[in-house]
């Protein structure tokens, strides 16, 4: 009885958690490890460890902390073996440096948060932004989506306004710079 209960409930939580955070952790691991297959391995290992001890976690925060720790340890192991190369040595030292490491996590969390907000934009605005981040000019975007340049600009403007609204209360001038880079 206990067993099946665990399976069905935890599986859901686990899957939802994975869907919500896998991109965050990929990016985090990719900071230190440049081989994408190794990144995938490391992230998968971390998730498997989570699955094996689901009952130990109190909340999402707790799972996240555990994954960050696991990814850090695995990345360090990987980099230690590759120390002959300068770039790997540098990344290893980033991981070993407590404050740097702490800032990386916070930065990843903030970025991930904004990316999710972008994903929630209306379809057309999202498409415009996708093409924009792919490096297309307004004219190219217009051609691609079969709309006028003016419409492209309107979509960009609206997207900006919506993203700004997410940050309504913070009204932080500095923070807006981040949004306008889009």
């Amino acid at each position: 009885m206990e067993q099946s209960n665990r399976d069905i409930r935890y599986k859901r939580i686990f899957q939802a958690f994975h869907q919500n955070h896998v991109r965050l952790f990929y990016h985090f691991a990719a900071r230190y490890v440049d081989d994408t297959e190794v990144v995938r391995d490391i992230v998968q290992d971390a998730f498997i460890s989570v699955w094996q001890r689901m009952e130990e976690f109190e909340n999402e925060e707790h799972i996240k902390a555990f994954i960050y720790k696991t990814i850090r340890n695995r990345s360090m192991n990987y980099l230690r073996d590759k120390q002959v190369e300068q770039k790997h040595r540098e990344k290893l030292s980033l991981l070993q440096h407590e404050e740097e490491f702490q800032e990386h996590i916070l930065e990843e969390e903030a970025y991930d948060y904004l990316c999710r907000k972008i994903e929630q934009l209306p379809e057309m605005q999202k498409k415009v932004i996708w093409l924009h981040v792919d490096g297309l000019s307004n004219e190219e975007i217009a051609r691609e989506l079969n709309i006028t340049v003016n419409t492209v600009l309107t979509h960009k403007q609206r997207a900006r306004a919506i993203l700004k609204k997410y940050l309504n209360d913070s009204s932080d001038i500095l923070f807006l710079a981040l949004i306008f880079s889009i």
């Binding site: 009885m1 099946s4 399976d7 409930r9 859901r12 869907q19 896998v22 916070l106 913070s170 981040l178």
Partner: protein
């Protein structure tokens, strides 16, 4: 730093930052963030750098390229690969046990110890787990996608992202009630938290109609299908569940109901507290661990094992001397498949057994085949139940 506490503190800080961006900080969280910023100059510098960042563009471009569904698929494949050997052993063990119990009519699936099980890929169709109909006629498919979540959040309904769960946190209203209806299709399962905090678990093919927020003097909902309720105690506002021709009235308690008007099935099983169950003009006050049910137009009562009765809430099928036709009905609802009998006498064949609902239907059928006199044959859009050749 290498302690769990430190890691959790960082994650907590990340949360505070996000809430800050959202403008959702409570005053105590604002103080906490301020404290973190003041703690060290380094933190303040970092925060400003973060705010000035301009590399979101490149970050988003690569973030978007990661497909969570595909990644989950890969992860699951790896998890299953890892434990394949162990699961084969389990099956062999199950086979040995089945041999020992050959004379009994039961079938059991034994599971490995907790840490050793891997999640099993279920072959259930799981496109959306519920459909919500609002008072203004809007239909929202709850398939976990962001659009539907968004629509609901703007209506004051909270959607938990980790469970298939809706939470209504609407204030008490003086106005007329606004009714919502939640339909759980075959293969679905859902949990709902009503505005008074009462929790409702809904099994496949169930429907609940409920007000977005309850009235001052009473709480009333209506259900069909299979539900389990944990009602929040409120002496001033009795809780009434209308179900087909019957009704259950409670103050605060936990109980399950099975209501399938088409199959003339109506029952209520009490876990704790007390309820008054009425059906037509008959009514009974029920004690815990007892079940009241309708048979031949009469309201009857008996003692039951509530864990078995309400196994589905825990994610398991429990069959106790249950006719095969009832067993396959449950499988039909959960796996969204259809069974047909090629011989009607098989319908009354009795089954006993417990099995996790997370196991795929193929595995369940295999086990049933191995331990019983029936065999299953997959046809184009139904599964045919036949007598096992050479059994008699």
């Amino acid at each position: 730093m290498n302690t769990d506490y430190e890691y959790r503190r960082i994650v907590k800080c990340g949360d505070l930052l996000k809430k800050y961006f959202d403008g959702e900080l409570t005053s105590s969280e604002r103080r906490e963030l301020a404290r973190w910023l003041w703690e060290e100059r380094r933190n303040r510098e970092f925060f400003q750098r973060l705010c000035r960042q301009t590399s979101l563009k490149t970050y988003y471009a690569s973030w978007r390229k990661i497909d969570p569904l595909k990644e989950y698929d890969l992860l699951e494949r790896r998890m299953i690969g890892k434990t394949k050997k162990r699961r084969l052993l389990v099956w062999r063990w199950a086979a040995v046990v089945s041999f020992l119990f050959l004379s009994s009519i039961g079938w059991y699936l034994f599971r490995t110890a907790e840490t050793e099980t891997s999640p099993v890929v279920s072959d259930r169709k799981d496109l959306f787990s519920a459909v919500l109909k609002t008072s203004d006629g809007k239909v929202i498919y709850l398939d976990g996608n962001k659009e539907s979540v968004f629509q609901l959040e703007s209506r004051g309904v909270h959607v938990s992202d980790s469970l298939k769960e809706l939470v209504y946190q609407t204030p008490l209203t003086e106005d007329s009630l606004i009714w919502h209806q939640l339909d759980i299709p075959r293969g679905g399962e859902y949990k709902l938290v009503l505005s008074d905090g009462t929790q409702v678990w809904l099994n496949s093919e169930s429907t609940i109609r409920f007000p977005v927020s309850f009235a001052r003097e009473s709480r009333e909902i209506s259900v069909t299908g299979e539900v389990y309720l944990e009602v929040v105690h409120d002496t001033l506002r009795p809780f009434r569940v209308k179900a087909g021709e019957g009704c259950v009235e409670v103050l605060g308690t936990a109980f399950g109901m099975t209501v399938y008007p088409l199959d003339s099935i109506w029952s209520t099983t009490l876990v704790q507290g007390s309820v008054r169950a009425s059906w037509g003009d008959q009514s009974r006050v029920l004690m815990p661990h007892r079940k009241v049910f309708v048979k031949g137009g009469e309201l009857l009562e008996k003692e039951v094992d509530v864990e078995n009765e309400l196994g589905w809430v825990q994610g398991i099928f429990v069959f106790e001397h249950e006719p095969l036709e009832e067993v396959v009905k449950k499988l039909e609802r959960w796996y969204d498949v259809e069974f047909r009998f090629n011989d009607d006498k098989l319908r009354k064949y009795l089954f006993t057994g417990k099995v996790s609902r997370d196991v795929g239907i193929k595995q369940i059928l295999e086990l049933m085949e191995r331990m019983n006199i029936v065999s299953f044959e997959q046809k184009e859009n139904f599964i045919l139940i036949k007598e096992k050749a050479g059994h008699f």
